[in-house]
Amino acid sequence: MKRRLFLSTVAALHIALLAPALPALAQTAKPLAGQTLTVLLPPWVTLPKEMTDRFTEKTGITLNSQTLGWDEIRTKIVTSMVANTAPASATEIDWSWVGQFGAAGWYQPLDGILDPAVLADLPTSKIFTYDGKLIAIPYNNDFRVLIYNKSHLDKAGITSAPKTPDELLAAAKAIKAAKIAEYPIGLPLSATEGSATAWYLLTKAFGGELFDEKFEPLFTAPDSAGYKAMRFEIEALKAGLIDPAATGLKDVEIQELFKSGKISFDVAGWAGNLAVYTDPSKSQVAADAKAALMPSVTGKSRTFGLPGALGIPTSAENKDAAIAFVHWMLEPETAIADYTLLGNLPTRLSVLKTLNDDGKLKEGDVLLEQAGLVEPLFAQGTPGWYPEFSSAVASALNQAAKGQISVDDAVKQIAAEAKNAQQ
C-alpha cells in the first residue's frame, strides 16, 4: 500500500515536472500540425511515400500532392489564377513561365523566407526573379546532356560518344544497320513542350540562337542553326533513325523507351535522370546508361538550363504550410532523396558537392563539366510570350514530322507565330 502510494506520488511528481515542458515541446516542434497542404507538381515530382511520410512526420502537415502532366499544369494555373482561385498552395513554376506569371503578379514574393546562406547556395534562383523580386525557389536543376546506351555503341563498334551532330547521325546509322536498335535516336515530336525544348537544344548544338537581342527570329534562313536543327530531326526521322511513333510521344515517354533499352540516344537527356537510368529497380539498362557532353558543330559543347521551381500563389490558403514545404524540399536530405528516387538534380551547390564527393552523382564528372557550359535560353530573360511561342513551335515541328509541311514552311510558320505572340 505504502509502496504503491509512494510510486504513484513519484510518478505524479514526474508528470508535474514534465507537464509544462510537454506542450512547449509540441509547439516548437510542429506549429502547423494538423493542416493539409495541396501542392501541384509535374509527374517527375510524384513524391514517394517514404518522402511524404517524412514530411508529415517532421511538420505534422498532411501532404496532398497532385501531379499533372507538365503541359496541363500551366493551363490549370492560368485558368485558376485568372479566376483568382489558387489551384494549390504551392505549385511548380517552370523557368519559362516567369515572364508571364511575374507580369501578372500571381505569385507571392519569396525574398524573405530563405536564409541568405541558402540563397547564395542557389545560383539558379536568379532565373526566378521578376522585377527584382524572387517569385519562386528552384528545386530541380535540369539541364540537358547527351545520354546514351554504352552497350549499344560497343556492339556497333563505336568507341566514343559522338561529339558533333554528324557523328551522332553516323553512330545511329551504324547501330541501326547492326540491328541493335531499330530506332536509335530518341527525340519527342509530339505537339508538346518537350519537343520544342529539344529543338532549342539542337539549335544551340548547331551553333546558333533562336532570336537576336530585338527578338527577331534567327531560324528562317536555310543556313541558320535553327533551320539546320529542324532539318536534322526531320531527316533522322525519314531515315528511320527516330521512331515514327515519336509524333505521339512526349519527352517522358521517350525516357521510358530508353529505360527499356529500345533507344540508344536520349538526345535531350535530363541531367538528373541518370540517377533513375542507373537504378536497376527502375531501368533495364542500369549498367549501360552513360552521359556525354552535348554534341556541337563548333567543338565546344553548349546546353541550356530548364530549372523547375516552387512558387506560392498570392491567393493560396495555408501559406505557412506552403513555406514549410518549400524549406523541406531544399533540405539536403530531401534533395538527395529527390535525386536518387526521382532523378531531379538538386539546385543547392553544397548538396551537389556532397553527392559528388560521396560518388553518388551518377556520371558526376560529365555532369559537372556540362554544368559549366549551361547557358540560359534567352540571355535577356524569358519573355512573357514564350509559352505561346513554344506551343507554336511544338505544333509546327509536329506537322513537319508528320510530313504535312516542309521544314521551310515550318520555320516560317514559327516565325509568324512568334511575331503574333509578341504583340
Binding site: 509527374p43 513524391l47 511524404t52 501531379t67 502532366g69 485568372v82 512526349k250 533513375v276
Partner: protein, 292 residues
C-alpha cells in the same frame, strides 16, 4: 419448300450475324478496356492480343483504391483520397443538377403546355433553340461571370451551368409527355375543385413518371460525362469530377495503360448500372423525345 427453309435459315443467320456485329461494336471496346485493366503490365506489352488476360491481376485497381500506390517504380501515397473525392464531386454535381433540372422542367413544361402566359411560345422556342448553340459559345463570358460571382470551383456554380445546359432537352421531353396526356383527366379534377397545382402534382406527374425518370436519367448521364466545363470551372480537387481526374492520370502515368483503363472502368460503373437497370425508361425517354 426447301428453298423457303433455306432463305429462312439464311435470313435468320444473317440477322444473328448482324446482331453479333452490333454487340461486338457496341460492347467490344468496353470489354477490351476491362480485360486490359485486369492484365499484368508484362502481358500488356506483348505483341499478341489476348482476349482474356493470361493471369488476372487486380494490381491496377489496387493502385487506385489501395492504401498506397505506385508511380515510376516508387511507392507513393494512395491516390484513393483524390479518386474518392473526385467520385463524390461527380456524384454531387450530377445528382444536384438532375434534381434541379427535373423539378424545373416538370413544372415549366406543364406551364408551356397547359398554362397560358404572355410570351409562352416565344420563350419555348428560344429555350429549345439553345440546343443548336454549341456550348463553348458562352463559355468565356460564363467564365468571367462566374469569376465575378465567386462561383468558380463551387458546387453551386457548376450545377447551375449544367442545369442551363440540360434544361432545354428536359423541357422538350416533358412537354411532349404532357402533350400526349389527355386533358380530360385534369379537367375532371378541376371540375371537382382541385387547384391547378394540386392536379399537376398529384394527378399529372405520377402519370408522367416515366417521362420524369427518363429526363432524370438523361440529365444525370450528361452531367456525369461532362469534361470541358469542369475542366475550366472546377480547377481544384474541391469540385473536380472524375472525368477531369482521369485524363490527369493519363498525363501523369503515361505508359501505365492498365492503370488508365482501370480508372476508366471505375468511372463508368454508375452509367453502366443505370443502363443495365433503367434502360427501359431511358429508351422510352429518348424515343419520346425523338418522336416530336
Amino acid at each position: 419448300m426447301r428453298r423457303h427453309i433455306l432463305t429462312l435459315v439464311a435470313s435468320r443467320f444473317g440477322l444473328a450475324l448482324a446482331v453479333l456485329l452490333l454487340l461486338v461494336w457496341s460492347v467490344g471496346p468496353i470489354y477490351w478496356s476491362l480485360v486490359t485493366s485486369l492484365t499484368s503490365p508484362t502481358d500488356l506489352v506483348s505483341t499478341t492480343p489476348h482476349f482474356w488476360p493470361p493471369s488476372v491481376t487486380l494490381e491496377h485497381y489496387g493502385k487506385l483504391l489501395g492504401a498506397t500506390s505506385w508511380s515510376q517504380g516508387n511507392q507513393v501515397q494512395s491516390v484513393w483520397p483524390q479518386f474518392s473525392r473526385a467520385f463524390v464531386n461527380s456524384l454531387v454535381t450530377s445528382i444536384a443538377s438532375t434534381v434541379l433540372t427535373v423539378v424545373i422542367a416538370a413544372f415549366g413544361a406543364y406551364a408551356f403546355v397547359r398554362l397560358r402566359f404572355p410570351g409562352r411560345d416565344l420563350l419555348f422556342i428560344l429555350v429549345v433553340a439553345t440546343l443548336a448553340i454549341p456550348a463553348y459559345t458562352v463559355m468565356i463570358p460564363l467564365y468571367r461571370l462566374m469569376i465575378s460571382l465567386k462561383l468558380i470551383d463551387t458546387y453551386t456554380g457548376v450545377t447551375l451551368i449544367y442545369v442551363s445546359a440540360f434544361l432545354p432537352l428536359a423541357l422538350w421531353l416533358m412537354r411532349s409527355v404532357y402533350q400526349s396526356m389527355p386533358v380530360s383527366l385534369e379537367e375532371a379534377a378541376w371540375l371537382d375543385g382541385a387547384s391547378k397545382i394540386y392536379t399537376l402534382v398529384r394527378i399529372v406527374m405520377p402519370l408522367a413518371a416515366p417521362g420524369l425518370i427518363a429526363s432524370a436519367i438523361l440529365t444525370f448521364l450528361n452531367a456525369w460525362g461532362q469534361f470541358m466545363i469542369p475542366l475550366v470551372f472546377s480547377p481544384t480537387l474541391a469540385t473536380k469530377p472524375l472525368t477531369v481526374l482521369i485524363p490527369e492520370f493519363v498525363t501523369r502515368n503515361y505508359v501505365d495503360y492498365g492503370l488508365m483503363n482501370a480508372a476508366g472502368i471505375l468511372a463508368i460503373i454508375p452509367p453502366v448500372l443505370l443502363v443495365l437497370f433503367l434502360n427501359r425508361y431511358l429508351v422510352q425517354g429518348l424515343m419520346a423525345g425523338a418522336s416530336k
